[in-house]
């Protein structure tokens, strides 16, 4: 408590598009944040409460800067949670720096950035594409087909993918991009049928992604070489919030990496699931975005309470020394990179539109946003080791 004084009200900006291409993701991030804010505001024992300022740019990139500036200047926010894409984040970064505020960025992204006015709570490439490809190369093969939406996320994650494929002497069997929201996926499906890759990396977003996965399901119905079980589509940002848009039959069996899945088995997640059911309704699915929105608000709250101010340097100093027990597991922000230490998981979609967790990193991984600790030789050697282990495991099973 601030010396037993009244609770201090902290303005908190929430800048998420809940309509447009990323509507589903934005909705989950916002809902998670609002749920945590209500929790904090209702608890009288907290030394702070939040005054929430919501901005919905509606997927219109020109709105981000204006709405962010309003939050900073008019509403005196020192903390803003928001933006989903890197384009959105880059759009608000200069104004965040100008007002010396703190942006809490809660989505997985393609890395190669450390801004001292941004806290990154989503996964960086060494926490998504790297562990994902370790699994895929070991269990499915190295010949890969790459698809993506035509903007920086798809381009860069696919570029990293090409580097990983080259490191293990695999083959990039195709690389195709679609404009945002384009659902004309047939030519891509035709090429995949001709090339027969071992698996497909999907960096399409929103409607394009849903249409692609459904079209692949149709391909599988007429050609049994293309079933999710044997030749899956894998993604780095497909979560529970997308599944209902794809449909159970088409989604079943495909893979995605995330730092949280609803079925994650730990006590805090059980508690969290109960809270979600109570706050929304029992049918509400929980994605890594919903959790990320929720846990990030709690991180902000705890850091401000310790710092006893929302001035950003004090908040960051408090943040760096905290460890957060979350529904995702233990989290910490690395003071060197401002990125979260996270535990990557691999989920396989089941017929109930849930992710079964089939692989998980043994321990939290420190973010390496510039991939300075990546070496192609080491990666290649690691794959060889993992292949041997997988072969041994297989032998154990059939004995």
């Amino acid at each position: 408590m601030f010396g037993g004084m009244m609770r201090k009200e902290i303005p908190l900006g929430l800048l998420y598009s809940v309509t447009g291409t990323y509507g589903a993701i934005g909705r989950d991030l916002l809902d998670g944040a609002l749920m945590a804010i209500d929790e904090i505001n209702e608890d009288e024992s907290n030394s702070i409460s939040f005054k929430t300022i919501i901005g919905d740019p509606g997927g219109n990139i020109d709105e981000y800067h204006r709405m962010c500036e309003d939050m900073l200047r008019r509403d005196k926010c020192k903390q803003i949670m928001g933006t989903i894409t890197s384009i959105g984040r880059k759009e608000v970064t200069p104004i965040i720096e100008k007002y010396d505020a703190l942006l809490w960025y809660t989505s997985p992204y393609e890395g190669f950035e450390v801004c001292e006015n941004i806290i990154y709570t989503g996964a960086a490439p060494n926490q998504h594409i790297l562990p994902l490809f370790e699994h895929m190369f070991t269990h499915f093969g190295k010949n890969t087909y790459l698809v993506g939406s035509n903007y920086v996320w798809g381009w860069e994650v696919n570029r990293i993918a090409r580097e990983l494929i080259a490191a293990v002497d695999g083959e990039v069997q195709g690389e195709k991009y679609l404009p945002l929201d384009d659902v004309d996926v047939e030519r891509i499906i035709d090429e995949i049928e001709r090339k027969k890759p071992d698996f497909i990396l999907n960096n399409l977003v929103g409607n394009s992604s849903y249409a692609f996965i459904r079209a692949y399901y149709e391909l599988g119905k007429r050609n049994s070489d293309f079933l999710a079980k044997t030749r899956p589509i894998v993604s780095c940002d497909l979560t529970e919030c997308d599944l209902k848009h794809i449909g159970a039959e088409a989604a079943d069996g495909h893979l995605s990496t995330a730092v949280y899945f609803e079925k994650l088995n730990n006590d805090l997640n059980q508690t969290f699931r109960n809270k979600v059911t109570k706050y929304f309704d029992k049918n509400r699915s929980i994605s890594s975005f919903l959790v990320s929105g929720y846990e990030t608000v709690h991180m902000i709250s705890k850091s401000i309470s310790i710092a006893q101010t929302d001035e950003i340097n004090a908040v960051m100093d408090a943040l760096y020394v905290c460890e957060f027990e979350t529904a995702m597991g233990r989290m910490k922000i690395d003071s060197n990179t401002n990125h979260a230490c996270l535990t990557p998981l691999l989920g396989r979609i089941n017929s109930n539109l849930e992710f079964d967790i089939i692989d998980a990193s043994k321990h939290p991984i420190v973010a390496d946003p510039y991939l300075i600790n990546f070496s192609a030789e080491q990666f290649s050697r690691r794959i060889v080791t993992l292949e041997r282990q997988a072969a041994n495991d297989y032998l154990k099973v059939i004995k």
Binding site: E116, E163, Y370
Partner: protein, 214 residues
């Protein structure tokens, strides 16, 4: 297209020639995040004993204050840095830009330093520097060809006279001998003398005779 790999500066050494302050601390933090080891020095270049090992500069990249940089700052000939040079620009005065260009800078960052821009400046600097170096080598080899032209002319005409050969016969002999000796025609011609001419002619005659015999 050659494959573009993720640039990695982990373990590289940077020298910043700039007065230390908040902006340079920010630059240092950003470089350290990329795994680099940073030395800051101003207003002079560090002492030779400290920064040269076996005659080689220990730094992989140098940042220099283009607002206050001066000609005698560097211990090398004007415009011939041994490693990539990145300008830290506050002023955009033409005179300062002229100075930076005269030093052959290969990239720049605007002051005050922000979190973004450092990585791309490094990537451009290393790439441009390598391009510049390979162009210089190419230029030097072309200059060598041009400068050696009189020697080649002398060699060919001397061999023509010595062996009573046509110009194309003499040139063909010299070219073959240069190739056999794994050297350029130009370098080979610089070393030519009457003894070598005799050997060349004997070898050539033997070669022809052995062909006839066959």
């Amino acid at each position: 297209m050659t494959r573009f790999y993720t640039p990695n500066f982990n373990g590289k050494r940077a020298l910043i020639l700039h007065r230390n302050g908040e902006s340079m601390k920010r630059l240092t933090r950003q470089l350290e995040r990329l795994g680099m080891e940073v030395t800051i020095c101003w207003p002079e270049f560090p002492k030779s004993d400290d920064v040269y090992q076996n005659g080689k500069l220990i730094f992989d990249i140098i940042f220099v204050d283009a607002d206050n940089g001066y000609d005698d700052l560097f211990p090398w000939l004007l415009g011939a840095p041994p490693v990539p040079l990145i300008a830290l620009l506050g002023s955009e005065l033409p005179g300062r830009l002229e100075w930076a260009m005269s030093q052959n800078i290969v990239s720049h960052i605007s002051k005050p330093i922000q979190s973004s821009g450092v990585f791309s400046a490094l990537v451009f600097a290393v790439s441009n520097f390598e391009k510049m170096k390979s162009e210089q080598l190419h230029l030097e080899s072309l200059e060598m060809v041009v400068n050696s032209r009189p020697a080649v002319l002398r060699g060919v005409s001397a061999l023509m006279k010595h062996g009573d050969l046509s110009e194309s016969q003499a040139f063909a002999l010299i070219r073959k001998a240069a190739m056999d000796n794994r050297t350029s025609i130009e370098k080979y011609c610089l070393a030519l003398n009457a003894d070598i001419f005799d050997k060349l002619l004997i070898n050539s005659a033997n070669f022809k005779n052995s062909k006839k015999a066959n």
